[in-house]
């Protein structure tokens, strides 16, 4: 009897989950496999006749290519720096919106604005702001400088755009973590003689650690696939490509499926490594 009921429940669950699962598998599973197969072939759409299995040769090509490593370095740099800044800024915003007395509602509302803005639209805003002549920010720089045409300033602007857009999300995640810290604990700590900073580092941060790790995991993986901002701001010029940009150019510009797929697989592996490090080494609890 129990078995029958369980069976019924399982069957219902199966039917309920089937459509979602099938779509997700169809749209990701097969392409990933296909991508892996393509990465082992010479497959350049400009030379359709010249296709063959070439083993790991594509991987050798990509991994021996300085452009790939530059892009990888840029991606890593942008990821690390922007996530770090976001963490600090997000924490500040979270603390402000959480503890603020004046205009709490307004602040909370306004903080959501960057989240609601289409990344591409915001990126154009940043681009024109830094374009000499047009931009209000470019005017602040010494005459004749064009920040988006040099590697270092361009990367800084990319990071700025990324940070501006995603700090609210970080702040929101941290705010939920903050809400989990019982007010009473902080009162008890101040009774025990802890000052504001000590309360933050000794009580708030340790209790928020799970929330912080989840937020970092989400944002790191998200930042690693950065595409829109770079595409609009520099389109990868002056060695500012991210791995996503360089893979895209190999596909759409170069029409080289073999190389593009190889990069796709490498990016996938990088993301898996990041997630693994977060979950295994830092012990980020995978939500769910």
């Amino acid at each position: 009897m129990t078995a029958e009921r369980d069976l019924g429940e399982r069957r219902l669950a199966l039917w309920l989950c089937a459509p979602a699962t099938l779509i997700m598998i169809a749209v990701t599973g097969w392409p990933i496999l296909y991508s892996f197969l393509l990465s082992l072939r010479r497959a350049d759409l400009r030379f359709p006749a010249d296709q063959e299995w070439i083993g790991l040769a594509n991987y050798a090509t990509v991994l021996g290519n300085p452009y790939w490593w530059t892009a990888f370095g840029v991606t890593a740099l942008v990821t690390v720096v922007s996530v770090a800044i976001e963490l600090v800024l997000g924490m500040l915003v979270a603390l402000v919106t959480f503890r603020t007395i004046v205009g709490r509602g307004v602040v909370r509302t306004v903080v959501l604005v960057p989240y609601g803005i289409v990344t591409v639209a915001a990126a154009y805003g940043w681009k024109y702001a830094w374009t000499p002549g047009t931009g209000w920010l470019a005017g602040l720089l010494p005459a004749g400088s064009a920040p988006l045409t040099e590697q270092a300033p361009a990367i800084a602007i990319i990071i700025l755009a990324e940070v501006w857009k995603t700090t609210p999300f970080m702040a929101l995640l941290l705010m939920t973590g903050l809400a989990l810290v019982p007010e009473e604990l902080l009162r008890a700590a101040s009774m025990d003689g802890a000052n504001r900073w000590q309360r933050f580092t000794k009580i708030v941060l340790p209790l928020m650690k799970p929330a912080i790790l989840v937020a970092l995991l989400f944002r790191t993986l998200d930042a690693f696939r950065i595409f829109d901002n770079i595409y609009v701001l520099t389109n990868g010029a002056q060695h500012t490509s991210s791995v996503s940009i360089i893979a895209y150019h190999n596909l759409i510009g170069g029409l080289n499926l073999g190389i593009g797929s190889t990069m796709s697989v490498l990016i996938l592996i990088s993301v898996a490594v990041i997630a693994f490090v977060f979950i295994r080494v830092f012990g980020a609890a995978a939500p769910g």
């Binding site: 219902l12 779509i23 209000w136």
Partner: protein, 270 residues
């Protein structure tokens, strides 16, 4: 104390708003003053807006964005609700696997799909069509809907369904008359988040389309050359950016409480 908080508040608000105000201001600048570098327009004009709304490609892009976004959101909501309900309420083997799998997809680097999808869709005739974008959008919206909705469903006490069953409801009636009305706020939130995701996408939109047949608005903007209207597309791009942005921002602000709940529901353990 009050003053200091007020000051910090103002900083936060400026941080969030100035970049937005800038692009709005840019969109109202007359072509002759567009390169004056001032934060506010010195000479106001609506010509940039008039220009983009005479532009068939942009209008087509808007229609594509809205249509593709709505369809993807709808499908993701239906399938996501089903799966989320199962996850929140039923015991079945493979539940952890499904949760893990959708988490995997949520964090998946989309670029890794672009290359194979580009090739697969070309061979299936889906390239540069609505379904060609709708499919990946559903896929990436699904983890979001499953996560947020199951968090919302879990908040509804299971005793209510048991009570409904005792009151004579079939399982479907219990779901439809008791659970769904209570989950509506959560479902609205989730739908908004899913729609924002589709609306915001750029990578799939420029990779899997080649004409205005399916190209969405953000992708269309990036193809503005300005040759049709002005030498310099800056004003048109700014106006277009405002057009595709402002409705979403208003939406977000209007539903802000719910959106906060939705964005964080999936992230906290639940």
């Amino acid at each position: 104390m009050k003053l200091r908080w007020g000051f910090i508040d103002v900083l936060v608000i400026l941080y969030a708003l100035i970049p937005v105000l800038w692009i709005v201001s840019l969109s109202f600048k007359d072509p002759s003053t567009i390169t004056d570098g001032s934060l506010l327009p010195t000479k106001w004009t609506l010509s940039n807006y008039a220009g983009i709304f005479r532009n068939d490609d942009f209008l087509r892009g808007l229609v594509n964005s809205i249509g593709i976004g709505l369809i993807s959101t709808f499908v993701a909501m239906v399938f996501g609700t089903m799966a989320a309900y199962a996850i929140a309420r039923l015991a079945f083997p493979g539940k952890r696997l499904l949760i893990g799998f959708s988490l995997l997809i949520a964090m998946f680097p989309q670029i890794s799909l672009v290359t194979p999808l580009f090739q697969i869709e070309r061979s299936l005739g889906l390239f540069d069509t609505w379904p060609g974008l709708i499919l990946p959008y559903i896929t990436f919206a699904l983890p979001l809907t499953i996560y947020t909705l199951s968090a919302f469903f879990k908040e509804i006490p299971a005793e209510l369904e048991r009570a409904a069953k005792m009151d004579g409801a079939t399982p479907f009636q219990a779901f439809w008359k008791v659970i769904v009305p209570l989950a509506v706020p959560g479902m609205v939130t989730t739908a908004i988040l899913a729609f924002i995701f589709c609306w915001n996408d750029f990578l799939f939109a420029i990779s899997l389309t080649s004409t205005s047949a399916a190209r969405t608005a953000p992708a269309t903007i990036s193809f503005f050359t300005g040759s049709s209207q002005f030498e310099d597309p800056t004003g048109s791009i700014a106006a277009a950016a405002v057009v595709i942005t402002i409705p979403i921002v208003i939406f977000v602000l209007f539903f802000q409480r719910r959106i906060v709940a939705g964005l964080t529901a999936g992230a906290v353990k639940g």
